[in-house]
């Protein structure tokens, strides 16, 4: 495998892990959300690296669809955060325990 592709895959793994760390260790919902964005981006990087490795465009198409999914996810997630901020003035994800179905 090409060296740039394999190093891109390792970078993708490390970035995904840092995104997981942001979600697990930080308590600010905005930063946790950025961690989710980072994880999606790491997956995108893996798709594009494999597209390069296989010489096929399919991976790039998946990455394109992923970007649309990430945009939709950000719109809905930030709307939820905005409504929680409006209600409580400050957001601590552990304190938001009233969102029970």
């Amino acid at each position: 495998m090409e060296l740039m592709v394999s190093h891109s895959l390792v970078l993708s793994a490390v970035l995904f892990t840092i995104g997981v760390l942001a979600v697990l260790a930080r308590r600010n919902p905005l930063v946790m959300f950025m961690g989710i964005e980072l994880m999606l981006n790491a997956a995108n990087l893996a798709f594009i690296a494999f597209a390069r490795h296989l010489g096929e465009l399919d991976g790039q198409v998946y990455a394109l669809v992923f970007m649309a999914v990430a945009a939709a996810e950000v719109a809905v997630g930030l709307a939820i955060i905005v409504s929680v901020y409006r209600y409580r003035r400050d957001v601590d994800v552990d304190a938001v325990s009233q969102l029970r179905g």
């Binding site: 495998m1 090409e2 740039m4 592709v5 394999s6 190093h7 891109s8 895959l9 390792v10 970078l11 793994a13 490390v14 970035l15 892990t17 840092i18 997981v20 760390l21 697990l24 260790a25 308590r27 600010n28 905005l30 959300f33 950025m34 964005e37 980072l38 981006n41 995108n44 990087l45 594009i48 597209a51 390069r52 296989l54 010489g55 096929e56 465009l57 399919d58 790039q60 198409v61 394109l64 669809v65 970007m67 649309a68 999914v69 990430a70 939709a72 996810e73 950000v74 719109a75 809905v76 930030l78 709307a79 939820i80 955060i81 905005v82 409504s83 901020y85 209600y87 601590d92 552990d94």
Partner: protein, 181 residues
């Protein structure tokens, strides 16, 4: 990979890692967002080197342009300057546990890549076919997107419409409780 490509690639890798680490460690959410933008730009450079110029442009337009602006807008709108956060951890050793889990995860991922043969050299010849040349061609990407992947593409537009409606409904002020806030 020639020398200039290697230099640019590893500089972009370093910038991406620095941006990600800065995003996690910054106390101020605005700084986190700016670090994440640096990370996205570095990833766009890597996409360009991996012969995906369309996705590099979209990365900057969609992520750094639209998504992070939305983030910064929310941060500027709702976080007061000098606001003190009193976060209560429901698990007392949460940060420690998170660190251990993340360490395990990165070891598992990299070991999986290593034993899956990412660094094995023998596969290199098999895929150096004719398709490699037009991987960077936007026209080819468009043809693939509108022929073989037409249905997912159209479903994406439906998803975006649903997300737009959902965001409007969720963020709208409730008419019945106008006097509360």
């Amino acid at each position: 990979m020639n020398l200039i490509e290697a230099l640019v690639f590893y500089a972009a890798v370093a910038l991406a890692l620095a941006g990600a680490v800065g995003m996690v460690s910054a106390r101020n959410p605005v700084h986190s967002a700016l670090f994440l933008i640096a990370n996205f730009f570095a990833l766009a450079v890597i996409f360009l080197l991996l012969s995906a110029p369309v996705l590099a442009a979209l990365q900057i337009l969609v992520y750094a342009g639209a998504i992070m602006v939305l983030f910064l807008f929310v941060v500027f709108f709702f976080v007061q300057p000098g606001q003190k956060h009193e976060y209560v951890h429901s698990l007392p050793v949460q940060s420690f546990l998170a660190g251990v889990l993340v360490l395990v995860l990165v070891v598992v991922l990299v070991a999986g890549l290593y034993f899956g043969g990412v660094f094995a050299a023998e596969e290199q010849i098999r895929y150096l076919g004719a398709a490699r040349a037009d991987l960077a061609d936007p026209q080819q990407l468009g043809r693939t997107l509108f022929s073989r992947y037409l249905l997912p593409f159209e479903l994406t537009s439906l998803l975006l419409l649903a997300a737009m409606l959902g965001a409007v409904v969720l963020a709208r002020r409730d008419r019945g409780k106008e006097g509360r806030s």
